[in-house]
């Protein structure tokens, strides 16, 4: 099993450009999450999904959109990138709703917006 994979690994955008980050998991997990990690800070939740076709906002959703058309994939979109969105983005998945479930993380996407 590959676990959680993310593409791309690195990306540089100019202000105003758009892009989509792809997250894929092969563990048949119901729940998927997108986080951002900024220097000296823990992870902050952007959006999450509790199942195929459903998405919801997390702590810092502004400037991002998501879609979960297939259970194994969770896409994060930036419609008009801003320098404040320079960050490392992590996707995670977990089996279900229990707070006792561990989250499995992808390797991250390092995004720079100039």
């Amino acid at each position: 099993n590959a676990g959680v994979t993310q593409t791309p690994k690195f990306r540089v955008l100019k202000t105003g450009q758009s892009m989509t980050l792809l997250c894929a998991q092969d563990m048949n997990h119901e729940y998927m999450y997108w986080y951002r990690q900024d220097p000296g800070m823990g992870l902050r939740l952007i959006h999450y999904s509790v199942g195929e076709g459903t998405t919801a906002k997390g702590e810092v959703p502004d400037g991002y959109n998501v879609s979960r058309l297939k259970k194994q994939n969770f896409l994060l979109g930036l419609e008009s990138a801003a320098p404040s969105q320079t960050s490392v983005y992590f996707c995670a998945s977990t089996l279900g709703a229990s707070s006792y479930n561990e989250q499995f993380f992808g390797p991250g996407t390092r995004l720079t917006v100039l």
Partner: protein
């Protein structure tokens, strides 16, 4: 908003020494989790301690939880260079039909060979 705050922010020790990291949180919890992040990598789950547990062991890891003080500690015994990483505590917060993890800012551990 961040629930967990780790202390210290950075820790440098010699290989073979023990490393202790602390985490404080603000609201009531039903469990607390510790994760490790190697440089340039995603987070990896290390251990979970339930709110009715005071101590838990896993290999060289020992976690304690004091719900009266809203604090937890992670002890790594006989540290190795490979333990060099950032360590995060995380608490679960109710979110609609699910839970979200709220992470602290992490402790950066450097184990010198």
């Amino acid at each position: 908003s961040q629930q967990g705050e780790e202390d210290p922010q950075a820790l440098s020790i010699q290989e073979g020494e023990n490393a202790t990291m602390n985490c404080s949180y603000k609201t009531s919890i039903n469990n607390l989790q510790w994760y490790r992040q190697n440089s340039g990598r995603g987070l990896v789950h290390l251990i979970l301690i339930r709110s009715n547990e005071r101590e838990k062991h896993s290999g060289r890891l020992r976690v304690t939880l004091d719900t009266s003080k809203k604090s937890s500690s992670l002890l790594i015994t006989a540290s190795r260079a490979a333990d060099t990483a950032s360590y995060f505590c995380a608490t679960a917060s109710r979110m609609d039909s699910s839970y979200k993890l709220i992470f602290g800012s992490g402790t950066r551990l450097l184990v010198r060979p």
